[in-house]
Symmetry: C2
DNA sequence: AACTGTCATTGTAACGGTTCAATAACCCGG
DNA sequence: CCGGGTTATTGAACCGTTACAATGACAGTT
């Protein structure tokens, strides 16, 4: 494969000039520049990024580690981050931790080895100590959607307690008094916060709120919960269920409709995230919308601020407000 | 940040020995090895992958370029590919072309610059000429799911004509005689093939098959089609619609049920891909299942064969058989 | 004609690893 | 206690690029 030296020979210039054409085209005379460009094209020269990265001490990538690549929520987050990275001439490489601390650790390791400029991550529960080590070694990290309360690191999140309150308040306003929350694990901060918000509203209104904890936030978990609910007599069944995310809600929806219940009359359902499939469900889902792309975009902005400004950068914890999107799964 | 030389000094050995500990631990004496390992840990040394890649002439990555990262189909493909890559001590970096030839081109460029060992790609329509250039410069490429007929490149795909035949035969066996196909653009080979397979069965049975072309394969496109169908009088409406993929089918499903039609009595619907959401739809979707993880896994196997064996490698076009999954959207 | 100042180009020393031939250390049999 | 054979370690060249100091060419000024 052609090296920069081959290009130089072909164009009759030195390697330094070729490098200048590549990196600071303005300093080289137009005629020379053109000759070099032609040589590059004719040889099919492709820049050797590892060599450049070695010289520069940093590569042109940032990492994005998400816990579930099949969740469209994170596809939107990625899109937002990419747009910002593009402006900085940096590429976003996407990794899937699949909620496994071990995989997350491996991905962090790879990114450090590649000398990624920074990492955007939605950390799996409990992996915070290794994250600290990464930052100490010099790689900036911004947390997405699972913000920590500590001021020592940037994070962007949506106010999950507020989301829980919105959901519960909506159900209470519709007259429901026996509520349930489906989702988990509760060890996940954002799940716990959504529940806490709902709990607060329910308590204030004197309503009951039963917790149906799941081990994951996916469709299968929702189906399990839904089947259990459908099996109860209507007297023992909550009249409304608020789910930890839309995947769980879709699972509940499927299981209970298959078992003959009707939404929202027999059971009202509220999801969380407002993914595209929420509106597309056969009974369109009331959900809590989060500014997904914006989350990724602002996270990337913070990351680049830390990368560019270094010590001058001050960490910020940005919290967005969620929004209630009302559809037929609660209002019929 | 600590370099290999720092580790060597701290452990009282030469840099060569440290490198040996890292790459061929068996050739270094246990006592020395342990001293070096301790030094690595105490300094928090992290390998500099760009330097290694420069020396080695290749990096430890392969690329995976998919046309829609939010489509769970590709999440499964990625999982299959990752498992294989893990075995080769290589990481898969995921890029989203979003069906844009321009983005695909950029991603290819980045991967070549990084000296990725190879690329797995579901190419967007028509981008085949640049793909040829990449291969000529020495980067092996395997096509996923949009196989070319040419024998000059490896590909894995599922027999889309067979899938179309399965779907249509199923509907015909249920007695339907006015069929429709919803999906597009028809310029996409796989969409055209699915339609062609369905067409063949319909013709053989003397049934009609109306084509409702869409510009994309997503939920929104499906909703548009569904709304149009629901607006027709039942006499002018097909009794069954076969959709280009599950996202389109879900869109159709949502639109027609909202407008009061019932599945499958008023309209039978068949999807394609059998994504998780297909079973989770309120009227669970009959669909054509493709071996998604296996697709990614076999593609990666072919890629590594080409990487490892070089000229000894012979290109293969592997075609899997799709499978009909029957659910309530056709059988009630 | 000598000098100054621009502007374009060049040569080369890093960057942080790996690899391999060369060397050192050691063991054991005679 | 020496020589031959292992085994463990070392040192230096090289990978492809960038950046910077140095050089060269040339026009304008006195």
């Amino acid at each position: 494969m052609a090296r920069i030296e081959d290009v130089a020979r072909q164009a009759g210039v030195s390697v330094g000039t070729v490098s200048n054409v590549l990196n600071r085209p303005d300093v080289v005379a137009p005629a020379t520049r053109e000759r070099v460009t032609a040589a590059i094209a004719s040889l099919g020269y492709v820049l050797h990024e590892p060599a450049r990265a070695l010289k520069a001490g940093r590569s042109r990538t940032v990492g994005l580690i998400v816990p579930d690549i099949a969740n469209p929520f994170f596809a939107d987050v990625a899109r937002g981050a990419e747009r910002v990275a593009d402006r900085h001439d940096v590429i976003v490489t996407l990794y899937n931790s699949a909620e496994s601390a071990d995989r997350e650790l491996r991905h962090f390791g790879r990114l450090e080895e590649q000398r990624a400029q920074g990492v955007l991550v939605t950390p799996v529960g409990g992996a915070v100590k290794m994250l600290e080590a990464v930052r100490r070694r010099g790689t900036p990290v911004v947390l997405i959607d699972r913000g920590s309360k500590q001021a020592a690191v940037c994070s962007v999140a949506v106010d999950n307690q507020a989301g829980g309150r919105l959901a519960a308040a909506h159900l209470l306003a519709l007259g429901h008094r026996r509520l349930a929350f489906a989702g988990g694990p509760l060890a996940l901060g954002q799940v716990a916060d959504r529940l806490a918000g709902a709990r607060r509203e329910a308590d204030a209104a004197g309503a009951t709120l039963e917790v149906l904890e799941t081990s994951r936030l996916d469709v299968a978990a929702g189906r399990t919960v839904g089947a259990a609910l459908a099996a109860r007599s209507s007297a023992k069944r909550p009249t409304a269920v608020f789910c930890g995310n839309d995947l769980v809600a879709l699972g509940v929806l499927q299981a209970v409709t298959r078992d003959g219940l009707r939404l929202p009359d027999d059971l009202a359902v509220v999801g969380y995230d407002d993914i595209a499939y929420a509106a597309a469900a056969a009974v369109p889902l009331t959900s809590i919308r989060q500014p997904r792309q914006r989350l990724g975009q602002v996270a990337a902005d913070l990351l680049f601020d830390e990368i560019d400004r270094g010590a001058d950068h001050s960490h910020q914890q940005i919290v967005f407000d969620p929004e209630l999107i009302v559809r037929q799964s609660t209002t019929g």
